[in-house]
């Protein structure tokens, strides 16, 4: 169901008009109210009147996570503290947390955006929605909660954890929609099976999953195992929390709430704006936020935008599944490559295990003219015949070349050569970091 046809089905022309109107207003607003943007505009000699078209947004400076950190906690706040009714925050695992203050109007806007998001995902007021996102500082819990209430669904605010109770409530209360991280949905399913419960036979029909990167393969897996439609959503604490974009049941990209967020794709190296269809870093500007509006936030997420009309009838652009983070990106002889792409090429070769590392020779930033991929030789791929070992090497090299269009040197190494780490493995090494290669 389309909750807000006026905005969700606006012609691209009318939408751009609305965006420009809102952009001009928010630029004037931050220039007047936000100490951070007052300073940033002044340093660059920017006047609110410089923005006369959507294209003029490129005159504005980018805002990065670092700017939030340097201006912690309230340097970007544009209203007096007494107008703030709630404060959320990021986990701060990579440094100081990002503080996200909201006015009452922001909470109302966000609730409406989340209600629309859930409706887009296929949820309606008759649904029983079990919200297993964490409640608290994290935007996920309350963001979904308020959105679902605004939509009129019946909310069960279980929050994360206590998986057995989740399954019990899901059965007894007739949950039809689950909201959580995609990885937690798999844990729910496993626990259900251990308890002798087949979720496919329950009333559950939709899962709205976000807050972590996941793959199309994982979606298929979840949909098959749980018998539900698994919908991908996207959001960031810096921008608003969940609600920036969501898939519709056609599952062909996430519709960005463009009446509230202006999206750009840039070349992460040069900062240059890229046309629709090209892959680059997503940059977002909030058009309607009051407490803490953000201009041109560099998300570091890699995606592309598709403005073609969607079968669902919505006109808002669709962003593709996040394929990587700019932090992980490598540019090998001018070709953009992510470690995840290299991994998938390796794993497509039978018997090759995900124990690999990537060696580059970075002269500056993420550029390298050199790429070496170390692959551990498992018992499965090892042969006593040299010819077979050489052809394994050649096959890996050819796959890299044909799938990624990069010339990689493949180095077969003994098991345990590559350090094992718990959690996120370090995959990319600079040649200078290695003692002897």
């Amino acid at each position: 169901m389309i909750r807000d046809p006026k905005h969700e089905q606006m012609s691209r022309g009318d939408l751009e008009k609305l965006q420009l109107e809102r952009l001009k207003a928010i630029v004037a607003y931050v220039a007047e109210k936000s100490p951070y943007y007052q300073r940033a505009f002044k340093e660059r000699g920017i006047k609110p009147g410089d923005v006369q078209s959507l294209k003029d947004i490129t005159k504005l400076p980018f805002t990065s996570k670092l700017d939030f950190r340097d201006n912690y906690p309230f340097g970007l706040l544009a209203v007096p503290m007494d107008e703030v009714v709630r404060v959320h925050s990021s986990s701060g695992t990579t440094g100081k947390p990002v503080i996200a203050p909201y006015t009452q109007k922001d909470i109302d806007t966000w609730s409406e955006i989340m209600a629309r998001t859930l409706a887009t995902a296929g949820v309606n007021k008759d649904d029983v929605l079990q919200n297993a996102y964490g409640y608290g500082l994290f935007t996920g819990g309350l963001g979904f909660h308020y959105g679902a209430e605004c939509l009129g669904a019946s909310v069960i605010p279980t929050g994360g954890g206590n998986t057995k109770r989740q399954i019990l409530l899901m059965q007894d209360l007739g949950t039809t929609v689950i909201t959580c991280t995609p990885s937690y949905s798999l844990i729910l399913n496993e626990t259900a099976l251990e308890m002798g419960v087949d979720i496919r036979e329950s009333k559950l029909r939709v899962g709205v999953f976000g807050a972590e990167p996941w793959s199309e393969q994982m979606r298929k897996d979840i949909q098959g195992k749980m018998g539900i439609s698994a919908i991908n959503i996207y959001g960031l604490t810096e921008i608003i929390g969940p609600g920036v974009s969501t898939e519709c049941p056609y599952q062909c990209g996430m519709h960005i709430a463009e009446d509230h967020f202006l999206a750009e794709i840039i070349n992460p190296e040069t900062g240059e704006q890229l046309p629709y269809g090209e892959t680059g870093e997503l940059v977002l500007t909030t058009l309607t936020k009051e407490a803490q509006p953000v201009m041109r936030f560099r998300t570091k997420d890699i995606t592309s935008l598709n403005p073609e009309p969607c079968e669902c009838g919505r006109t808002h652009v669709r962003m593709s599944r996040i394929t990587g983070r700019t932090d992980d990106m490598l540019v090998i002889k001018g070709v953009n490559v992510f470690p995840s792409q290299i991994e998938s090429v390796l794993l497509d070769v039978e018997g090759v295990e995900p124990h690999y590392m990537i060696v580059v020779d970075r002269q500056e930033g993420f550029k390298s003219d050199y790429l070496e991929v170390w692959v551990e030789v498992s018992d499965d791929v090892f042969s006593d015949e040299m010819q077979k070992m050489e052809s394994l090497e050649a096959k890996l090299r050819a796959e890299m070349d044909s799938v990624l269009a990069i010339a990689a040197k493949i180095k077969l190494v003994e098991p345990k050569t590559i350090a094992r780490t718990e959690g996120k493995a370090k995959r990319v090494f600079d040649r200078s970091e290695l003692p002897d290669t």
Binding site: D379, F382, S383, D384, E385, M386, M389, L412, E414, T417
Partner: protein, 131 residues
């Protein structure tokens, strides 16, 4: 005769063969024959032990990538033309292609042990049984 051979994957670096032989010594495993073939940055060490299973277990336990394969071995006289007439010529005439081959000679018994892998291992075994 068909016997089992153990192969180990090694990086082409000083000390790797040493590491393999240390495993053998530590486990009290005797080595009957050994060959190394190398290709740039890595190599394959092939070995014959009295007890192939034990040899392979010891190597895997020490963290090596190892495998066991059936190969053919034969004992031939250590005389001029011994290898030519007893092994290479009959195999060649039968159209058997060799994948790899190595040999060790015992000076006292005047016998040479040859170890080989061929595209048609059954045929190779049959031919060498006749020596």
């Amino acid at each position: 005769m068909r016997i089992k051979q153990v192969s180990v994957f090694v990086q082409n670096q000083p000390g790797r063969l040493l590491a393999i032989l240390e495993v053998m010594e530590k486990n009290g495993i005797n080595l009957r024959a050994l060959s190394i073939s190398e290709s740039g940055e890595f190599g394959i060490v092939r070995m014959i032990f009295p007890d192939a299973e034990r040899g392979m277990e010891a190597l895997r336990e020490a963290g090596f990538t190892a495998r066991m394969d059936w190969i053919v071995s034969a004992e031939i006289p250590d005389t001029p033309g011994g290898l030519l007439n007893n092994v290479v010529k009959p195999l060649s005439e039968a159209g058997v292609n060799l994948k790899y081959f190595y040999a060790a000679t015992d000076a006292i018994s005047k016998k040479t042990i040859v170890v080989l892998k061929a595209d048609d291992l059954d045929k190779a075994e049959q031919i060498l049984e006749g020596i």
